[in-house]
Structure formats: C-alpha cells, structure tokens
Amino acid sequence: MYPAPRKTRLAVWKFASCDGCQLSLLDCEDALLELAEVLEFAYFPEALSRPVRGRYALSLVEGSISTPKDAERIRAVRRRSDHLVTLGACATAGGIQALRNFAAAGEFVAAVYAHPQYIATLEHSSAISAHVPVDFELRGCPVNKLQLLEVISAFLRGRRPAIPAYSLCIECKSRAHTCVLVATRQACLGPVTQAGCGAICPGCHRGCYGCFGPQETPNTTALSDALAALGVSRAALQRLYRTFNADAPAFRRESERHGE
C-alpha cells in the first residue's frame, strides 16, 4: 500500500478588504467539501482555527496594501508561497480605498482620525503586484466564484487559468441583452471593462460600473467621447472611472483627463 499523496496546501490571506472575495470561496457551497478532498486548507483564518505553518503551494490573496506592517507581511507571504494569486479589485488594483491615492497628501487621514498616532497607515492603498511578483490576478469586485474555481483547478493541474481578457460587450452580446448605452443612453463602462461577471448590470437595465477593471488594451478615450456626447459631465466621467478599480492604470489615466 502506498500512503495517500499529500494534499496541496492552500492558504487564504487577507489585507485591506471587505472579505467578499474570500467569502466567494465559501460560497462555492457544493464544491467546497470536494475541494477539501484534494486541497488542505492550511491557512484560512476566516474559516478555521489552528493554521498549518510552513510552505504553501498556492496562496490566494485578498485585499490591498495600506499599512507599513502589511507591506512587510505580503513579502513574507510571497517567500512562503510557490504560487500567489490575487483575488479581486483590492488586491489587483488597490480597491475603493485607493481613492485616497487621488486626495491631497494627508487629507483622508485628517478627515477621519481623532488620534492618528494610534494607527499607522500609508498615504496610498496599492495592489499586491506593486510589492511582490504575482502569478495571476483574478479580477472582480467581488470575483466570480466560477472563475475562482477555474483558477484553483488550473493551478492544481499546472496550467494557465482560462480567464478571458476581452470586454464585457462580448459577454453582454452573447446573452442578447439590449445595449443600455445605445438603447437607453445610460453611461456604461462595458466597452472598456473586462468580462467575467456575466454582464449582470446591463442585464438589470443599468450601465456597467467597471467592477472587473479595464480589459486588455481598452479604448477609454473613444468611450469617454461617446459618453460626453450623451451629456455626461466631466465630473461625472471622472467619478465613473474612479470607483473600485480607480488605480488600475488605464482607468487612472483616463480619469485624470476629466474632472471639474
């Protein structure tokens, strides 16, 4: 008899975030216990006590880096991980909390703290890739749990995840939704946003708000021109690009072209 092969060790790490992306892992209800057959959940403080120390084959990282301590911690996580995958907009682009990156230095801190000396915080909220090498970035605010399962399966089998980088429009058309931009003249970021959510916003008669971040090579200038022609103000255009992926380079650059 051979001993059972050691299970692949998985770790789930949290930085500044809402917990929604790691919750998506627990939301894989049907697959969760099956995953536990092939994976060892070695470190996942939200779901289990008593972490297993040592090296991890795959680290899933949620959240952005916004404190000096977290900037050190992510380097330690990288050293102990064979593969590191970021989950969601915070880990991939700094998240909604990266809006502080656009404020004047110290403005947010001054607005919020009574006793800033109690807390160490960085002026910026940044993506994991700004601190350590990342093997794959899974988009979304939150991530799509089916894409998350695909990423985990891909790493278990040593292949690249099959996650499309094309725009939301492809997904929207394949679902035969009426184009909200053309038919109802609503602002929609679909033409420049990466697919993956299932085009749920156009499916609910509203414009995409870009929670999966910019697609590969987005033509944001053309979209902004089209939106301006619909009467979207410069201030509204800037806000449109500055939400959950505000610090993703393509959205940041485009947002800087607009505003009051």
Binding site: C18, G20, C21, F41, S49, T67, V112, H115, I200
Partner: protein
C-alpha cells in the same frame, strides 16, 4: 502577587483582524480588551463629493458578508433626505432581499464559524468528517439565502439592482417560483438547525444586557421601525446621534459606542429576539420555545440558537413574500436631489446599522456617517470577557483561550465593518 496577561493574537473564524488581551491579577480578570487592527479604509471620507446615487454600491463594499445591509441603510437614509416614500411592493422586495442576506450570513456563522466551538473542532471543514449531514445542511441553507440574493440582485456578493427609490430591475413572478420550492426545503432545514443547535451544551453564562434593536408595530424588524431598548429607549433613527456617542479607544482601530446615561449596550440577534419575540412567525416562536429558549435570551452562547430561529423566521417570511408577490407598477420612484440630511437604521444580520447623509442641492454627498453593529457591540463584548472569563482562569490556558475566542465569536463580529469608521471626534 500573581498577575498575568493572556493574549490571543489573530482571532480566527471571525470576519477581519482582531485580538483579545486579558489582564489578570490575584485570580481576577481586571481588564479585557478586544483589539481591532484591521486597516481602516476611510469610507466616510471617500464618500464626500460622490453623487448620492453612488452610495448604495460604494457602501456595499464595506462588508462582503452583509452588503445588502449597507445598501438598505443607505437607500433608506437617502430616501429620508429626499422625502421619498417607496410603495409597499418595493418595501416587500427589499425585505425579501434582506431575508436572503440573513439566511446566508447566519447559516455561514452557525455552520462554519460557531458550531465547531460547541462540537470541539477547529473548523467547519474538519467538523464535516463526523458531522457531514449537518455541515451539508448548513451549506445548502446558506446557498438558499444566496439564491434569493442572486435572483433579486444579480449576484450573491455586492448585488447590483438596489438603487435609491427602488430597484434597477424587479423580477418576474416566474423567476421567484423556483425560489419558493427551495425555501420550502430551507424552512425544514432551518427547523432542523434550531433543534440541532438547541441540543448543544451551553455554559451557564447570563448577564443583564442593555439590548437595542428596531421594533415595528407588526413585523419582526428588517428595514423599518423605531429604535428601542429594554431600558425604555424609544426613538426614531433621526435622533440616534443625540443618544448614542462614539469615542476612540487606544487599543482599537474602531470607535466604541455608548448609550448616553446607560453605557455599553448590545445589538444583534439576542437584542432583536428579546425585544421582538412576539413578532416572530408562529413557526419560529414555537421552535424557539421547543429548543429551550424563553421569550428573552441573555446567554450569549445561546446566540447560535437565536440565529437559527431567525433563519427559520426569514425562510417563512420569504415564502410569504414570494407567495403574494406582484410586479410593482414601477421599479423605482422618481428622485429629485435637494439639499437635505437623511438618516436611517436597518437590522444587519449582526445588528443595528445606522447611516446619515448630508446632501448638497445637486445631490453631492457633503458628509456621511456610518455606525456599524460591531462597533456598537465592542464594549459589550469586552464586558462579556470581563464577566465570564474568570470562570476558566483556574483551568488549562488552552481552554481559557478557546472560551475567550468563543465569547467574541458569540456576537459574530464583523471586524472589517467595524474598522472602517474611525471618525473625527475632537477632544476639546
């Protein structure tokens, strides 16, 4: 004399990052601190200058476990500011969405976070090896809650259909029919969960809490009602800030709240249940009594049973809402921005969630104030640690450590929520 300090770093099976510090002298617990070091994300600061229509989607990102609660408190506060009365059909749909979140959030806490404490496991996944049926039932219940949220909101986490004035899209009755099928199963599963948790062993820990929750003339509270306590408080959300003060504490990245003239108070399932027992659906009331709960519950360890009772109530309520659902005449009311202030409180799974917005004439948010349940419960959780941990001081440290973690976990703290509201309180 014998003095020692017990630290539990990195609390597990809670949402977010926190720790506990107990100081013991001469065999007595002198102080207990719940330390929250989750990095703050400054939501109140980043909401300034945004359009009011953006608040529901932005505040949802405060918490991936209870995004619907944030969306609900946001839309009700903004509708208060804009003097919008949404029709009953829209209120009903919101209530249905909230049922989904309660079922999802409570089933997660009961099954994966809390039950392992009572059965002696480190996780729900480890527990599944010997209690597979119970874990699968809990996960399927959670899935039923998620199915409601996905049907109404487009996806489970950060749903996309909620807006000020109503919804971006309302469902066709045939979309809700499969939910009813599933909820009839869920109602049975919830009933089973009440029996299952009711049979756990509970330490004999009772204390006279000050409870705070919404109360509505007819309904078990979700979106509507006055804020009441068991000490005679009875106020509308509009005067919340006059009666509840928040102050910073050195050991925590979250503010602590106190009820003026009373001090620490508890919000959440124990408070809701104890202040609204008679508003529960009959099936939930009967199940609660059969499981050994009274019409009030002051043992925090039994909160797991109360959560199960609330899941049962939410299943029953959701079934009734689906049964009488008719497509609303309009998905959303017209909204006209104006310079005004609006407030609202709703019942998140973890307790009362208060929002206030000051708007400029064009609808720009000038000021946002958010008071999440976990920040309100911090002082009560520390009081639990002080009152109850003494019992386990003479035992093995490992036992004490587990019990202290459990004392915190009893209240299902959402540390991610609690932290993001450090606010400016100028010390004069």
């Amino acid at each position: 004399m014998a003095s020692r300090t017990l630290r539990i770093d990195g609390l597990t099976r809670v949402e977010g990052e926190g720790s506990v510090k107990l100081q013991v002298r001469d065999g007595e617990v002198r102080s207990a601190q719940l330390r929250i070091f989750e990095p703050p994300r400054f939501f109140e600061a980043l909401l300034r200058g945004r359009d009011y229509t953006e608040a529901p989607d932005i505040t949802a990102r405060i918490c991936g476990i209870c995004p619907v609660a944030y969306q609900m408190s946001a839309v009700h506060a903004l509708e208060d500011a804009l003097a919008i009365e949404v029709p009953q059909a829209i209120r009903d749909l919101r209530r249905l969405l909230y049922c989904g979140e309660w079922i999802k959030s409570h089933a997660l806490h009961i099954t994966l976070l809390h039950a392992p404490d009572f059965l002696g496991y480190d996780s729900g996944i480890a527990m599944a090896r010997e209690h597979g049926a119970a874990v699968r039932r809990g996960l399927a219940l959670k899935q039923a809650g998620n199915a409601i949220i996905a049907a109404l909101g487009g996806r489970e986490v950060h749903p996309v259909t909620v807006r000020v004035g109503g919804f971006h899209r309302v469902p066709h009755p045939r979309e809700l029919a499969p939910l009813a099928e599933r909820l009839r199963w869920a109602r049975e599963a919830a009933l089973e969960t009440v029996r299952w948790t009711g049979a756990f062993e509970f330490p004999d820990c009772e204390r006279p809490y000050t409870f705070l929750a919404l109360r509505h003339p007819q309904n078990y509270p979700f979106n509507a009602g006055r804020i009441v306590s068991n000490q005679g408080l009875d106020i509308p959300a509009q005067v919340f800030e006059e009666r509840i003060r928040e102050h910073p504490v050195r050991h925590s990245n979250a503010l602590q709240a106190e009820l003026l003239g009373t001090g620490a108070y508890l919000t959440g399932p124990l408070a809701r249940y104890s202040l609204n027992f008679e508003r529960l659906a009959p099936i939930a009331r009967e199940a609660a009594l059969a499981a050994g709960l009274g019409s009030r519950c002051t043992n925090p360890f039994r909160s797991i049973v109360v959560r199960a009772v609330e899941v049962l109530h939410a299943c029953e309520e959701a079934l009734s809402l689906i049964g009488r659902y008719e497509v609303p005449a309009q998905a959303a009311c017209e909204c006209e921005p104006r310079a005004a202030t609006g407030m609202a409180a709703t019942e998140a799974p973890r307790g009362l969630l208060y929002h206030r917005y000051d708007l400029a004439a064009d609808g720009t948010i000038r000021l946002a104030r958010i008071v999440p349940p976990t920040a309100q419960n911090q002082a009560a959780m520390e009081e639990d640690l002080r009152r109850f941990s003494g019992e386990w001081l003479s035992g093995p440290t490992e036992m004490l450590r587990r019990r202290c973690e459990q004392l915190v976990r009893n209240h299902d703290p959402c540390i991610s929520c609690a932290t993001h509201f450090l606010r400016l309180e100028i010390d004069a």
